[in-house]
Amino acid sequence: MTESFDVAIVGAGPAGISAACLLAKKGVKTVVFERGEYPGAKNISGGVLYGHDLAQNLPDFVSRNCPIERNIVESRLWYLAKEGGFSLSYRDRIFFQEKKYNAFTVGRAKFDRWYAEQAGKLGALVVCGTVVVGLLRDGRNQVVGVQTDRPDGDLRAKVVLLADGINSPLAAQTGFRPEPKPSQVALAVKEVIELPEEQIQERFNVDPGNGVTIEILGAATQGMNGVAVIYTNRKSLSLCVGANLSDLTRRKIKPYEMMEDFKEHPAVAPLIQGGKPTEYMAHWLAEGGYDSIPRLCGGGFLIAGDSGMLFNALHREGSNLAMTSGRFAAEAILEALEKGDFSRKGLQGYLSRLQESYVCQDLKKYRRFGSFMENNPEVFASLPEWAGQAAREMLTVDGIPKKKKQRVIWDRLRRQISLGRLLRIFWNGWRSVR
């Protein structure tokens, strides 16, 4: 490939394609490299996308036949002990009509493919089955293109946007982002379980087209810092369970066994009963938060999405940060093209946009959340077990006076955890999210 482009984008995920859509709309010569057989072939998320961020790029995404699985009308939060668990849920009329597609589930192999097709229709060139293995630089060390694993695979571009995801050997190799430490990523496994559409509607109490998300803390991750989810798709459920990689390493727990145990929990088993597993996948989640974000632009390059560690672990938001950071990157590239300045200074508009938007403001707000989870393991282990036992005790009718039960419950709590420590956990927790 001796052809040259204005912009080369690495990765056809939400970040890269969002940028490609905007650039192509403005007539900028844009190429996107995707290492998978098709866009989405390598991608996973729990499966929730947000209409707001998608609409900023494609206001008519619904009429363009976006492969939406279910519109989310209810969010549940579970706190599980080994044998039981608490459930809190919120459903709102506004999400049925007025704010429809505020959040919706997708299968990323279908969604990313569709999204890339839209970028193609707008004029971007999407090249699949191609790994970007290095970057071309000029004498001043400015990035001036990419090296791919194709024969004659060098391609020159004025700007390169790295949108190649959290697992990016390229970022590490170029020194643009250090390799994450095991404590900065969660390793999640996902299973897709097929069920008849009507059965999903019955089990989750929703109409056709609507769905539910469940976020789960506690025993699902066997006391490790992590989270599990169950999301409804049209004809399947997405089950994910993930834990901090350093916890998994230390505890020697096999992720696929953790998934099988999760599926047997009394709160989970009836939801998936009779279902047929159809796919099994694994992926990282960026858990380092605001303080792990690398320098997001430099001479001739920008970094967007997961690749730049833009992930809000508390609110399970990632694909929206990817879409919005991709759009901001494209806007900054347009400015740079106009000025003819592709240096770090010329691309600076990207950073100011991120800083002024919810992307950096949210990540900053929760910058302590990751270390809170890491340093307060009781939240995942002894507290849910204790709370479960307490509820079990109080709900069991066996002739024992309630006062006596309460005393037993409090004694048990104090044996496991001091009052000071308990207060500290609540204080730290509040501080990490306020």
């Binding site: 696929y256 047997e264 996948m281």
Partner: protein, 93 residues
């Protein structure tokens, strides 16, 4: 009944690259220095298995998460993406 990881991987679609994309750099490090050998546990595809005198690498079923690259205590695993278009292809994602 609990499903084995082999059954799970059987659900996936792989286009296997002839050239392995994972390699243990120095087997003696695993044998002589690495006491915990966490790769035998955390790998979600059970790529790393203890054989009689070495750890085998069945890269064919790799889910490409990258965990072994950063989780190996001796950073003893050489890791690259499979050639473009090879490796796992998600059906639903």
């Amino acid at each position: 009944m609990k499903k084995k990881v082999e059954d799970k991987l059987f659900l996936d679609r792989f286009r296997v690259d002839e050239e392995p994309h994972l390699r243990i750099r120095d087997g003696s490090v695993c044998r002589d220095q690495c006491t915990d050998q966490p790769c035998l546990y955390f790998c979600p595809a059970n790529v790393y298995k203890m054989e009689k005198d070495h750890i085998s690498v069945t890269y064919e079923g790799c889910l490409e998460c990258g965990s072994c690259r950063i989780g190996c205590p001796y950073l003893n695993i050489e890791w690259r993406f499979p050639t473009g278009g090879y490796g796992i292809s998600h059906k639903f994602g």
